[in-house]
């Protein structure tokens, strides 16, 4: 079997990066973002990138780092709050933004990965999102046509992988990582631990190895928390 494991993020992206790529990226807020791979994309200096990602990171985290270095031309995202540099570039017209409802974005990635170029959804009917889109009535209800995303590259963060690329995620860090992974022509995954085949339960694989082309162990991770909320023990 072809070797999928690379020593680090830069080598895993070797030969894959060029200006103007469409990159699908996993993560929700700062949870489950492929931070090693994003750092390596920044360090490569490629520019005019389009990112399909639920969020754009925060000021100096995640995709926010590539905004700071002006490597991003366009964002396809559902929510971009809590990011001052994004706001500045957006308001000055330096950055193009396509707002896409969160579920439509996830489904556009899933569809792209499943070889489906378009699908009809009722999300966004009668709103700005529907402008310029084909509509069709099914069973008396109006739907709009949304297009699948076929990305040049997918960047994904997972918990564990075996050496053949079977992947499992942890808790809510799964989020957009699965649909993003499937819609990339090439998918590069960073994980916290790489194990031998047989160590992951085949019945509990979240992303089968067929979708995963390159793999790195990016640990140790110092995972960031956006809003730290707690309760006291007795308030349960």
């Amino acid at each position: 079997m072809a070797q999928k494991i690379y020593p680090d993020a830069a080598s895993a992206l070797d030969g894959l990066l060029q200006d103007g790529l469409l990159i699908a990226c996993g993560g929700f807020g700062l949870c489950g973002i492929p931070e090693r791979l994003l750092d390596a994309v920044r360090d490569s200096g490629v520019k005019d990138l389009t990112f399909a990602s639920n969020n754009a990171g925060i000021d100096n985290e995640g995709i926010g780092k590539l905004l700071r270095t002006r490597q991003v031309k366009k964002m396809i995202a559902s929510y971009v709050g809590e990011n001052k540099e994004f706001e500045r570039q957006y308001l000055s017209g330096e950055l193009e933004v396509e707002f896409c409802p969160q579920g439509t974005l996830a489904e556009r990635m899933r569809a792209g990965g499943a070889g489906i170029p378009g699908f009809y959804t009722k999300t966004g009917v009668g709103t700005l999102v529907a402008e310029g889109k084909e509509t069709k009535v099914f069973g008396g209800q109006e739907y709009i046509l949304e297009e699948g995303i076929f990305a040049d590259l997918a960047l994904v963060k997972a918990w564990k992988a075996d050496t053949t690329g079977n992947v499992v995620f942890r808790k809510t860090a799964r989020n957009f990582n699965v649909p993003a992974a499937t819609c990339g022509k090439v998918c590069v995954v960073e994980v916290e631990e790489i194990v031998q085949p047989g160590e992951l339960d085949p019945d509990a694989i979240h992303l089968p190895g067929v979708y995963v082309h390159r793999l790195i162990n990016g640990s140790p991770y110092d995972k960031k928390i956006e809003f730290r909320t707690t309760r006291t023990e007795d308030a349960g």
């Binding site: 929700f28 807020g29 700062l30 949870c31 489950g32 639920n54 995202a77 559902s78 929510y79 971009v80 709050g81 706001e87 957006y90 308001l91 933004v97 707002f99 409802p101 969160q102 579920g103 439509t104 974005l105 996830a106 489904e107 990635m109 899933r110 959804t121 009722k122 999300t123 966004g124 009917v125 009668g126 709103t127 700005l128 999102v129 918990w159 995620f169 942890r170 808790k171 809510t172 860090a173 799964r174 989020n175 957009f176 990582n177 699965v178 649909p179 979240h206 995972k223 960031k224 928390i225 956006e226 809003f227 730290r228 909320t229 707690t230 309760r231 006291t232 023990e233 349960g236």
Partner: protein
């Protein structure tokens, strides 16, 4: 101007959430928006099992974690740390919105900037101001079985928020089933019927509600 301006009548934010919680039923799967809707979780009636969905990929949201339990891989859609429950389940974002769009979620409670008399809702964008995006709001109003909007009855400048037609860009068209404000509750039986004023907050009169509402409704 009525003499009731700035007088402490009507429901507080927490009381509005408690009123919304009266719409919960045993066994419901529910998605709560950010802000006042989040408070609804504190008012689930005793003995009732309600499973909360978080659109970033979880069913069965638990309470905020203790300091020792904090896990960066476990957050809600508001990006706050949370905890899991014995019956929790995790899934990816495509699966999460498949269950939302597919009509598997019974109820959502959302905040609103404006609701129209025909059930349109605007809650994601004010033209000319920074646009943050709609997140999952458009998917929720399009797919969830019952949509409750909880909002202040009037904007900060005193203007009505329950209006004949929304002036702000819509989140969804003809989708709202119930509106709970600090002054009153409006409900409609189906998406072809007008909203009916069904309840007044303590100390609030029907005349006061009428004076502060531009939407048409029945009583």
């Amino acid at each position: 101007m009525t003499t009731h301006d700035n007088i402490a009548t009507g429901w507080t934010r927490d009381q509005m959430a408690a009123r919304a919680a009266q719409e919960l039923r045993d066994g419901y799967y529910v998605n709560l928006g950010i802000g006042i809707p989040t408070l609804v979780a504190n008012h689930v009636p005793a003995g009732m099992t309600v499973t909360l969905q978080s659109e970033n990929g979880m069913l069965g949201i638990g309470p905020f974690p203790t300091e020792d339990e904090i896990d960066p891989d476990l957050i809600n859609a508001g990006k706050q740390t949370i905890s899991q429950l014995p019956h929790s389940a995790y899934f990816d974002s495509a699966q999460s919105f498949a269950m939302i769009r597919g009509g598997k979620i019974d109820l959502t409670v959302l905040g609103g900037m404006e609701v129209s008399e025909t059930g349109d809702i605007a809650n994601w964008m004010v033209p000319g101001k920074m646009i943050k995006g709609m997140g999952g709001a458009m998917d929720l109003v399009a797919g969830v079985k019952k949509i409750i909007v909880v909002m202040e009855h009037c904007a900060k400048d005193g203007s009505a928020k329950f209006v004949p037609q929304c002036t702000l860009p819509l989140t969804g068209r003809n989708v709202v089933d119930m509106v709970i404000t600090d002054l009153a509750v409006f409900k409609r039986e189906d998406h072809n019927s007008p909203f009916r004023l069904i309840e007044l907050a303590p100390g609030v009169t029907a005349d006061e509600v009428k004076a502060k509402t531009t939407a048409r409704y029945v009583t």
